[in-house]
């Protein structure tokens, strides 16, 4: 009898094809296709057909020879996520410019009144000014005008330039002054206000304007005013050049957005936790009342909106009323979000605090019967719904060489991390945790300031390298690789992704080390946290140490570093963990499909 096991997952549909006889099962081939539509809905049929055809083609078998299709009873777990920033930096009335043009001009600190370069001839002798040079002034003219003003006694102490002309102007000045260039919104610089321009020596960062007392000295501030200037100084730390302008009402504010609080209803009571206190606090409170029965956010606050959004998405997917949706797990993660500063003059970005939240909902049983009926009609093959997903996953996982009962599996997916534990006497316990691959993408995107979803997926799945010359790249592990033919000059000196089909340059001037750190930390925060949480739930007596073997399954187990991170974390508990190898050849994929074929 020719049997096909079909596993409908959130992102992929997997097929295992086998010849099942009285007392032997011989696997023939496997197939895979992307899930069409939402898991457990009749629109899956297209994907099912494609995955089946993929497997059948590999075995050169016709669809008509198929005797039986076994579908899994898909676990009705859907997860969603959202993120809210809880701080916000606003610059009012343009008080500062803090950015790092690659080539500022001159050195040192200059203080004076902001004056348009066209008006330098009207300035009285002896007065201190900062020249403002807009785009339409050529660098040679700018230098001539400044030199003329200086020779007539005007003390030009510094300059702010719109174009990338800082060094060119500086080289043509008789008296050297600090020059900050590439200031995009120079028209927003207020004129006639006291200002300070600072440029540090190459390889150094500014000293005066990044120090609140430095700014206080420059502008002769009172202690009260000095307090207000602290965010400005803080924002400028680490820059090679900066401008601070003192306007009467000018200010940089770091505002804390009231994030609101969340009420968690658990089996062991209810608790309320303020999101402001950070993700750690949320997770500790959750732990206290676990298992979670529902969560509510204060309406009108960020967290309220966040949970409402998740609820309505879920309601839409499952066709239930939003009130009927019960949130059964949440994962909160602290993160930083790159956000453009409101009111900035040179496209400044600050890293704002944020909390990312994933939530998981168990809806009523997905209408698998409908899917089964549809498959039967379309393919004219008998269809069986054969058992719970987790049990099938364990059945499949046991085909990994070197495994034995009792066994725990961790299914690392796109939306959730699922764990199942099979005891010696055949009992199975399962649990689902919110947050997996998709959440990693969301957090990385926020922290790196990338919105392109494809690019984020690529960053998650591929190692980085830096192009060091036209013929060589340096990889993440600091080894160097040489090429016979020259690389594309477009990727010269850039950070690239090493994909199978080529090298993809990353936008902006992000540092390799930073991207790598963000990528690895995000994976740890989501996958390692959830792996431990999930295993604690299924382990005997809630003790991970009592587990012997953990087999990692699912698409994210194919990742080039997640399995190692989890193995590493579990090694501390004396647990053997590793990537599954279904039937000794499929790797971590196809476990459920294989389990379905073996079921009965």
């Amino acid at each position: 009898m020719l049997v096909a096991g079909v596993d409908i997952g959130n992102n992929t549909i997997e097929v295992a094809l086998a010849k099942v006889e009285e007392n032997s099962t011989v696997f023939i081939s496997s197939g895979i296709a992307a899930t069409t539509g939402v898991k457990g809905t009749p629109s899956n049929i297209t994907g099912i057909r494609m995955a089946l055809e993929d497997a059948l083609r590999k075995a050169s078998i016709d669809m008509r020879s198929l005797d039986l299709i076994r579908l899994n009873e898909a676990t009705p777990v859907i997860s969603d996520m959202a993120m809210e920033t809880i701080t916000e930096t606003i610059i009012t009335e343009s008080t500062m410019i803090g950015h790092n043009p690659s080539t500022p001009g001159g050195r040192g600190l200059g203080v004076g009144k902001t004056t348009l370069i066209f008006h330098l001839d009207k300035v009285k002798s002896g007065e201190k000014v900062i020249a403002i040079v807009p785009r339409n002034v050529d660098f040679e003219d700018a230098a001539i005008i400044i030199n003329k003003a200086v020779s007539s006694g005007v003390r030009v102490e510094g300059a702010v330039v719109q174009k990338d002309d800082g060094v060119l102007i500086s080289n043509r000045l008789k008296k050297k002054i600090p020059i900050v260039d590439e200031v995009a919104y120079i028209d927003k610089v207020p004129i006639g206000m006291p200002a300070a321009v600072e440029v540090a020596e190459q390889g150094y960062t500014i000293k005066t304007l990044s120090n609140p007392y430095g700014i206080a000295t420059v502008f002769e501030l009172s202690p009260e005013e000095t307090k207000n200037i602290v965010p400005v100084a803080r924002a400028l730390i680490g820059n090679r050049s900066a401008v601070v302008i003192r306007t009467p009402a000018g200010d940089v504010q770091e505002r804390r957005i009231p994030a609101g609080s969340m009420v968690l209803y658990g089996e062991k009571g209810r608790t309320s936790v303020d999101l402001d206190e950070g993700a750690k606090e949320v997770m500790e409170e959750l732990q206290r009342i676990y298992p979670l029965q529902d969560a509510q956010g204060t309406s009108g606050t960020n967290v309220g909106g966040l949970l409402a959004k998740i609820r309505s998405t879920m309601a839409e997917l499952t066709g239930q009323k939003p009130e009927a949706i019960k949130i059964q797990d949440i994962l909160a993660v602290d993160t930083l979000v790159q956000q453009k500063v409101k009111g900035g003059l040179a496209n400044e970005f600050f890293a704002e605090d944020a909390v990312g939240l994933a939530a998981m909902v168990k809806s009523s049983r997905l209408p698998m019967e409908k899917v089964a009926k549809k498959v039967k009609e379309e393919l004219s093959v008998p269809v069986h719904i054969a058992g719970v997903e987790a049990n099938m996953a364990i059945n499949g996982a046991l085909t990994t060489p070197g495994t034995a009962k009792p066994l725990a599996v961790l299914d690392l997916g796109g939306g959730s991390v699922d764990a199942a534990f099979l005891t010696d006497d055949g009992k199975i316990k399962t649990v689902h945790m919110a947050g997996a691959g998709d959440m990693v993408n969301m957090l990385m995107g926020a922290e790196l300031g990338i919105t392109d979803k494809m690019l984020l997926e690529d960053i998650k799945c591929n190692p980085l390298a830096k192009v060091e010359s036209l013929f060589s790249i340096r990889l993440e592990d600091h080894t160097v690789k040489f090429f016979d033919s020259p690389l594309d000059p477009k990727i010269y000196a850039r950070v690239i992704l090493l994909k199978d089909d080529g090298m993809i340059p990353l936008p902006g001037d992000m540092k390799l080390e930073r991207i790598r750190t963000v990528r690895r930390e995000t994976k740890e925060k989501v996958f390692v946290t959830n792996a431990l949480r999930a295993l604690e739930q299924v382990a005997p007596a809630g003790n991970i140490r009592l587990l012997d073997f953990v087999v990692l399954l699912g698409g994210s187990a194919l990742d080039f570093e997640i399995p190692e991170m989890i193995s590493d974390a579990l090694a501390n508990y004396g647990v053997v963990a590793g990537r599954g190898n279904i039937r000794g050849k499929e790797g971590p994929r196809n476990a459920v499909a294989t389990g379905l074929v073996l079921s009965e």
Partner: protein, 118 residues
Amino acid sequence: MRSYDQIRPTIFIYYDDYHMIQIPIKKVKEGLEEEGVPWEEKQIKGNAQYLAKQAAQDSRLGIGIGLLSDGTCLLQHRRMPMGNPIMKVLAGADTMENYRVLGSNAARLAKNMPLKWF
């Protein structure tokens, strides 16, 4: 032959007729100056590809710029094949600023910084 200590690491600019290329070369040099990389220039005979390639061969940095009297400008590297310049500005360029970008890129090549593209 110059003695060893006289050879500075610089980017070389070779052109075939100084009088024809005054504006483009001024722009190229602006790009180099803003990035703070030194250069030397010389008049020799040849086509654009040859000028650029020869400049790159002779430069201690291995980076050369060839500027032909009709305004064609090529950026070359010692190890790049002759017919494969890193960047080019064609005769009758849309804007003179493109020459400055080429100058900046020559310097950025020397400084190991990502290039700019127009």
